[in-house]
Amino acid sequence: QEATLRLVSAFAENGIYVQRLQTWIQKFNAEGKGVLQINFIGGPKAIPSFEVGNAVKTGVVDMALNTGAFYTNVMPEADFLKLTRIPVAEQRRNGAFDAINKVWNDKGNMQYLARMVENQPFHIYLNKKIDKPDLAGLKVRITPVYRDFFQALNASVVTTAPGEVYTALERGVVDGYGWPIGGIFDLNWHERTKFRVDPGFYDAEVSLIMNLPAYRRLSEPQRAYLQKQLLALEGENGFWTRYAQEETARQEKAGIQAVKFDAATSKAFVDRAYQVGWAGAEKQSPEIAARFKALFSPSR
């Protein structure tokens, strides 16, 4: 018989993540008649972003589109997913995916279903030029994802609501911000941005998660159908590489200049980002951080 899963998004409905999710849901429901359906309930208007993780854990909803930084209150390990340096297909092969699911099952009462965004590195966007990776004297708007890293680069960190970033940039309340390679055009931040620091670091993680009891309640055919569609969703992830290229070109057109370092400095910059990231992870959860670190990094 047919079952219906209720899905909420921690991201706003007009963004690209939910747009792509909606396309997938349409296909899912069209092909899954009589087996499994998804009822998209809505975005943060229905459940506040930072409560979505708890809602999945307790079964208020069955599924969610979410990012780890939004549910560190369920388990600090959620935010570790930004530190993956291999594609999700590889994560499924090398055991990383299963290791994630073990933690997500045990600590979060949830199943980690699929990663739907990849290859979206974070960048530092600035209005003042820097010639070395040092943010001393700069006021930078942060989110918890890269707060430690920016502080390690000596920035003064500022927290503001997303809606105030534009004014803050315009008036010089902040000298810059961190954001993934895509999306700065959504809130017109490009109008108030002069430089982007290359290279990027970390990988913006957006995934589907599911309440564990709800997952276990699915019949064999239902679970097989879900799995098939999840793999199809991940199979589309090549889109994000193209999207990153498009957004980079669009930023260049908008007059945002790339700040580049020499090869050694760039490598040191990126290594520092991961070193700070893993150091933070180890502080929260040493044993799991060690296990994940080995599985999330490319084998040499």
């Binding site: 209150n73 003064s156 927290t159």
Partner: protein, 172 residues
């Protein structure tokens, strides 16, 4: 007893006033430090937003039972004023009973949410890392206090004249 309870609620409200004042100072200090370098002090208080948020939430809760005592939680009394006083008085009882039930429900499920958060060791990870139940626990306590005041409110209704109360209808 009703008086002692009233003094407790007034004391909590006073603590709310102090928090309001402190919240203003925290935000001003953050802005000042960000713009004026003071040797030995950090450039801005990175935790100012999350601490002010918490203060605003506590301010709301600390003041709420005191406002109920004062009849300052605004309401719409246009119907009550239009009805015969005796009938309006009866409707006040219906409202109070629902209000009491509502406060008890919130106290119970708020306590469960705080308890579950404590039991699973959930953390609120921002600039400051704090146990999540710290922010969840005040809610059920205050709704329990509101339920208590609701009982005193009903006692006052019983002792008073048979007509609608004169609670605040608006404040803008």
């Amino acid at each position: 007893m009703a008086r002692a309870y009233g003094r407790l609620l007034a004391a909590l409200a006073l603590a709310g006033c102090a928090l309001l004042f402190a919240m203003m100072l925290v935000i001003v200090a953050d802005v000042a430090l960000r713009n004026i370098p003071v040797p030995g002090l950090p450039r801005g208080l990175a935790w100012s937003n999350e601490v002010s948020e918490l203060m605003l939430y506590l301010l709301t809760l600390l003041v709420a039972p005191w406002l109920l005592r004062q009849g300052q939680h605004i309401r719409v009394d246009i119907l009550l004023q239009a009805l015969p006083p005796r009938l309006a008085w009866t409707l006040e009882w219906v409202g109070d009973a629902l209000g009491l039930a509502c406060c008890l429900f919130m106290a119970w499920y708020g306590a469960r949410a705080a308890w579950e958060s404590w039991a699973s060791g959930s953390l609120s990870i921002k600039t400051l890392v704090t146990p999540e139940w710290w922010s969840l626990a005040p809610l059920p306590v205050v709704f329990l206090l509101l339920a208590g005041e609701m009982l005193f409110r009903m006692a006052r209704l019983y002792a008073g004249e048979r007509g609608p109360r004169r609670d605040a209808v608006s404040a803008a």
